[in-house]
């Protein structure tokens, strides 16, 4: 019977979360799978000999880099299409500034149907609509429970920036939950 290596066990434990993170970031299952596979390949190829305690920050750092690269590539492709005269208005908006832009979950969820949505569905939509950096900070800090210091290394930014992105994420989530049945549960 085949024995699982430590790195394989680590991947099995983390691949689903990584996939959900990538899917929320890209809103595309196939892209998310590619990003996770690429992340796993890089971790195994380059860092499997590192102590296993180093794998979690490395793994999620590689993943976040892949996600950010994907956003940048989307922005570049959009600019090229624009330059070649093949753009449309939606694509024109999709550039590096998307990393900081905000949107509202209520744009996704029709008002009249909000009452029927379960809290988890509403929260998932709200998280997926956070700006990219806020989304990264929120998922790494709140979900993965990495420290501010660890998160700053994964996001390649200062601890202060992580705190800012995280607090903005909380504020944005609360704002986006305002018009839902769960307003009172989470507002100040």
């Amino acid at each position: 019977m085949k024995t699982l290596t430590d790195i394989e066990k680590f991947l099995i434990k983390n691949e689903k979360r990584a996939f959900v993170m990538a899917r929320i970031a890209t809103k595309d299952e196939d892209v998310a799978l590619d990003l996770v596979q690429d992340t796993m390949l890089k971790l195994v190829s380059k860092y499997s000999k590192k102590p296993s305690a180093e794998w979690p920050p490395l793994f999620y750092r590689i993943l976040q880099s892949r996600i950010t690269d994907w956003y940048r590539r989307q922005g570049t492709q959009s600019r090229w299409r624009n330059w070649l005269g093949q753009s449309n208005n939606e694509e024109d908006e999709f550039n590096d500034s998307v990393l900081e832009n905000q949107s509202n979950v209520n744009d996704l969820l029709p008002d009249e149907s909000l009452q029927g949505f379960e809290l988890n569905t509403i929260l998932e939509s709200a998280i997926s609509e956070l700006p990219v950096r806020q989304k990264q900070a929120f998922m790494l800090r709140a979900w993965q429970e990495f420290s501010t210091k660890e998160t700053s290394a994964m996001m390649k930014c200062s601890e202060g920036s992580v705190k800012t992105h995280y607090s903005r994420a909380i504020a944005t989530l609360k704002e986006n939950l305002k018009d839902t049945p769960y307003k009172r549960e989470f507002s100040q």
């Binding site: 689903k16 796993m40 929260l123």
Partner: protein
């Protein structure tokens, strides 16, 4: 307090998503993992598309440097000779490692601090 409630609810929602992935998605993830492990075992990382892309970009930069050196010799007045530049650009340096050096420094410091504390 409300923030904690919100983050707890968000965690629960994300956990639910993770636990309820379709069997098809789980199968595809398993295949992706197995492929990654196999490719790493066989040392195929160097043949991945991203590496090809990086190699191509590196070759492009090297070519542009040679052209710049030939066309604009007066611009090369720094202490390093153009051949030094070319050597740097064409050296088989692991670009990811260069990118990760700062991160490793931080990681080493963190682990040292952690072991000191425990």
């Amino acid at each position: 307090m409300k923030d904690k409630k919100l983050t707890s609810a968000a965690k629960a929602a994300l956990n639910e998503q993770t636990e309820n992935l379709s069997s098809d998605t789980q199968q595809r993830l398993r295949l992706a993992r197995e492929q990654a492990l196999q490719r790493a075992d066989k040392g195929l990382w160097a043949h991945s598309p991203s590496w090809k892309w990086l190699s191509g970009a590196g070759a492009g930069i090297a070519l542009a440097s040679v052209i710049a050196f030939m066309i604009v010799p007066n611009l090369q007045s720094n202490s390093l000779s153009p051949l030094d530049d070319l050597e740097l650009l064409t050296a088989e340096v692991d670009l990811d490692l260069v990118d990760d050096l700062e991160f490793y420094q931080w990681l080493d410091e963190s682990l040292t601090e952690g072991s000191d504390e425990s």
